[in-house]
Amino acid sequence: MQYVANTEADKLEMLRTIGVKSFEDLLSGIPSGLRVAPSGLKLPAGMSEMELLGDLKKRGQRNQHADRNACFLGAGVYDHYIPAIVGHLATRGEFITAYTPYQGEASQGTLQAIYEYQTMICLLTGMDVSNASMYDGATSVAEAVLLALRGSDRKKVVLSELLHPETIQTVRTYLTDIPCEIVLAPHQGGKTGLDSLKKLTDSSTACVVYQNPNFLGYVEDTADLSAVASAAGALVIACVNPLSLSILASPGETGADVAVGDGQPLGNPPAFGGPHFGFFAVKEAHMRKLPGRISGMTQDKEGKRAFVLTLQAREQHIRREKATSNICTNHMLCALKGLIFLATLGPNGFKRMGELNVQQSHKAFDKLTKLPGVKPLSGAAFFNEFTLTIDKDPKALAKAFEAERLIGPLHLGRFRKDWQNAHLIAVTEQRTDEEIDRLADAIRKA
């Protein structure tokens, strides 16, 4: 299957117009020693569309997926309901095959969608300004830390140790060559310990980063954490689950300066971890330090409302090595799905989704904690995810889950030695009472 469009006759005529005898003449600038051998690349021959579909179907059938199995895995990626119109609208060719909207007059659709997306993120997070999206939640946290360090004499970065472990790893990578010190604030009873945070945070602290709900699923005392950081003059960076903001206090309500997170719960399928989108919003004071693209409302020369990429003096294509970030390609299409998802649900539907997560997760919690050998790791409040310690062999548990056609929960032993018996359980609005019963059965039988 090929997608080229010139006929042989066209090609000959084109070569004539160019004024060369053969196509090879056009490649005369490439030294012959560098040419791929005439036998070509060592790759198989191509195939028809029909054969391709057959092959990819066969390969796909080797994957266990959430259409056939009840998914209790979370830890940053959740199996949420996506209204039918999200996929329908977001996969329109006019969105999916457009480029970055540098030519404003030919890209008003994308630019207005970005403006609306920025508004949506600000409304949810309680921030003033949002950019047009980042790669994911982990890189958003890393870029937020860079924002805090840039132009500051403060070189200490305090991370709650209950950030997603992969977020902490990503931050470490981003800071490899940046002079600073990373300190982890330990947890206490399933939440970031307030006393130890106080001890760690001082006049050399550039920022304090927490996640809500945290990696174990528990709701942090966000206002208290923010207060500790702000009192020391450090920037407060809140990494939040956007769906939880239907029920839980927004970063803006609880003293954050920067709100970031992963937008996957908003209309993006799990997709093996990507692509999803990161969101990044700040209080107005930090507007000109934002990484990435921003759409602004303005007018055209006739005074009509118009949208355009703006504040570009922060970006790599203008500022090169002095840019606030190297980000260029972002995750616009995934952000668009988030926007359409929220516009479709509306305030009532969004709240309802949040409530259903609370309802089903607490049902599961009540059921599972009654089982022998099963205990909650903490008594703290949770949204749609919680951690249980289960006195059973994790391998036997994994087998029992598979036998009951369940995906997950997540055994946390891989992340920390003292979490050998801990399991993180996500229960979204899609998990039925019957599936929760099956999860309980599987644990009992293991």
Binding site: L15, T139, E166, T170, V308, H317, E321
Partner: protein
């Protein structure tokens, strides 16, 4: 223009999901301090109104599916629909990154095979698919270069980039704490060897280069360039943005590059998505392999694949999970459908199309480097600017009136009034002829009636945008307190899709 979704109002029942059980009160599970106090102020629209809103927005975009889109260095080729279809299947869309590896062998095999296909196409020893975009791949590549020098006990503080480089190159170098040193381009549009020799030295960590260059010219002396940098102890980085010129023709690995990234959303047909997501796999030669981001795939018993996190020399993790799997799938399908011969045909037609357009425009626009180009070329509106005051920007806007997207303008920065044109292989001669005819017509207008070009566009939903106002008085969101967005002159609410004809 369309109203904002926030300015519309109709009945939204909020009933895509069932109601919670009778008497259920979510708030009782949370202390008051943890609960949201403010409303979300999300828009309220009936489903049909949401569908119309976003359908109308989409119609205000140019896109590959509707318009010729010759943006230089962006490779706006056709994105096969079959790849979108496959990606949406539940056994690819509804799999979780933390499922046991035994449950996702189909996906893992695809990742492994794509890694090795890219290795063969680019001539590299190992690939990681983790980077989310080209700039992310650059970041990964430079971190590996730093790790390599550190491991050799060397402190090198400079990254060289040509003056024609993409903006992400210096920005990525800065992110890794490097000082950026610019290398000049010679009169023929290639790396100035003397300037390179003068600037390379014991402080050089890396030279970042794209080949063909952003001028669309193959670096004929590329082996000499890589030898010079290697002799000084530096590494050479290949920015794969222009790889669409070289599939099955030449390989960066054979030219002496140590580390590369490739944009799956350019060369390998992942749609650009109005700005993303893309994917920027990073490839290395053997001596850098141990520094690749973790986790890596490894073979375990019975030919099964598993993630290996035990990579002590790795630069670390660049993002969550394993990368943009949706992009991997599309590119995997693309490579599989085309095969070795089909991939070569891509570059053959991309180079032919670019040279044909260049030949057709040669008399009408200045060509800073008049030799055969690869997949793209740069021409200049210098002549038009001097005669009638028509600039590259204006020509781009005038193209929009003809339903043709503008080329990349004012890049590379070393060419005055630059217009960088990349037609790609998926366009036919018929489309190229239409574009050439329009461009020649605009050159004529620029001489005889420049005002019509300066006034363009006139057929798009809006006219020229006031960018200065946008930057001076940033209006970056709608605010519920004000009730509506700041009132500008009356918006024309009829929708036009003339631009997508």
């Amino acid at each position: 223009m369309s109203k904002l979704i926030f300015e519309k109002r109709s009945l939204n029942q909020g009933d895509h999901l069932p109601a919670p059980e009778k008497g259920f009160d979510a708030s009782k599970f949370f202390p008051a301090s943890a609960r949201r106090k403010s409303g979300t102020h999300l828009p309220e629209s009936a489903e049909l109104d949401v569908v119309r809103h976003f359908t109308r927005l989409s119609q205000q975009n140019f896109c590959v599916d509707t318009n010729f889109y010759p943006l230089g260095s962006c490779t706006m080729k056709y994105n096969p629909k079959v790849n979108d279809q496959i990606t949406s299947w539940p056994f690819y869309g509804r799999i979780h990154p933390y499922q046991a590896e035994s449950q996702v062998q189909g996906m893992l095999q695809i990742i492994r095979e794509l890694e090795s296909q890219l290795g063969e196409i680019l001539g590299m020893d190992a690939f990681s698919l983790q980077p989310a975009a080209g700039a992310h791949g650059e970041f990964a590549g430079l971190l590996m270069v730093s790790a390599y020098h550190k491991a050799n006990g060397q402190k090198r503080t400079q990254v060289l980039v040509p003056d024609s480089a993409h903006g992400t190159n210096p920005a990525s170098a800065a992110l890794c704490g490097y000082e950026v040193v610019t290398v000049k381009t010679d009169a023929k549009g290639r790396v100035d060897i003397d300037d390179l020799k003068a600037k390379v030295g014991p402080l050089t960590a890396c030279f970042m280069l794209t080949n063909p260059s952003t001028l669309g010219i193959f670096e004929t002396n590329i082996q000499q360039v890589t030898q010079i940098v290697h002799a000084a102890g530096g590494q050479v980085y290949y920015d794969g943005a222009n790889m669409n010129a070289l599939l099955g023709i030449a390989r960066p690995g054979d030219m002496g590059f140590d580390v590369v990234h490739v944009n799956l959303h350019k060369t390998f047909a992942v749609p650009h998505g109005a700005g993303g997501p893309g994917s920027g796999p990073v490839g290395v030669k053997k001596h850098l392999e141990k520094f690749l981001p973790y986790p890596r795939l490894k073979e375990v018993s019975g030919g099964e694949l598993a993630w290996d996190y035990d990579r002590p020399d790795s630069i670390g993790r660049l993002r969550s999970f394993y990368g943009n799997a949706g992009a991997f799938l599309r590119s995997y399908c693309y490579i599989k459908a085309l095969g070795a011969q089909g991939l070569k045909e891509v570059s053959v037609n991309a180079v032919l199309n670019a040279n044909y357009l260049k030949a057709r425009l040669a008399k009408h626009y200045d060509l800073p480097h008049d030799e055969h180009c690869m997949h793209e070329f740069v021409c200049s509106a210098k002549r038009q600017k001097a005669k009638g005051g028509v600039r590259a920007l204006d020509i781009g806007k005038r193209l929009l009136d003809h339903g043709l997207h503008a080329p990349t303008v004012y890049f590379p920065m070393i060419v005055e009034e630059a217009m960088m044109i990349e037609p790609t292989e998926t366009e036919s001669k018929e489309v190229l002829d239409k574009f050439a005819d329009v461009m020649i017509g605009i050159a004529h207008e620029a001489e005889t009636n420049p005002q019509v070009v300066l006034d363009a566009p006139t057929k798009t939903p809006i006219k020229r945008i006031d960018e200065v106002l946008a930057a001076r008085k940033p209006n970056l969101r709608w605010t519920p307190a004000a009730g509506s967005a700041p009132k500008l002159a009356d918006a024309n609410l009829t929708t036009s899709n003339t631009c997508c004809a």
